[in-house]
Symmetry: C2
Subunit: 112 residues, 2 copies
């Protein structure tokens, strides 16, 4: 569903408004993960078809970039584009909020 709104919040949520996209960004930006298997192994347990779908969607939107490994042609590395790197701010915002208000979370990013 695309809402075709011109609101910046609605537009960003059209791309990122689901349970997985921002987690994949987190994995790439904070944990340094880059391969399909890496993302698949994250503790939250994304299904491979959903992972595949989200990677494709974020590539279409220029948030991430895919390239073949030079050492092993069977492996692909995903990385953040500048557009993807700049999602750090909203992600950190969410993280700060959770640390402040959700008791169970660990402040694993040690954000000031």
């Amino acid at each position: 569903m695309d809402r075709r709104s011109d609101c910046p919040v609605a537009c960003s949520l059209d791309v990122l408004g689901d349970k997985w996209s921002l987690l994949i960004i987190r994995d790439m930006g904070y944990y340094g993960k880059s391969t399909f298997k890496d993302f698949e192994k994250s503790e939250e347990g994304i299904a491979t078809n959903i992972l595949s779908n989200r990677l494709k969607k974020m590539m279409d939107h220029g948030i991430i970039h895919k390239e073949q490994s030079e050492s092993n042609k069977l492996v692909y590395h995903y990385s953040l584009t500048k557009k993807g790197v700049d999602l750090a701010a909203p992600i950190i915002g969410l993280s700060r909020w959770a640390v402040k208000y959700i008791p169970e979370v660990n402040d694993i990013f040690n954000i000031k």
Copy 2:
């Protein structure tokens, strides 16, 4: 689905990781909307069952609060709790990102 992760990003996305929750927060915080009908009339067009579900969910999580109107007993006003108000930061983060990277959006919040 609850992932039972202790990551602050994952935990906040368990509550807010969908296309509508943050838009309702936006409507309350930025547009000053407060009634069911107000939210329903937003340009993105949320269905009433979904709206009802999201309001309930965010009330359960203490993000919003509901009270009966004093002037009209048929009307209920939803408002942000402190926990909800503090979602402004991540929402502004998303908004800034969209303004920077998505050409079609209007910078309706005029965020510096």
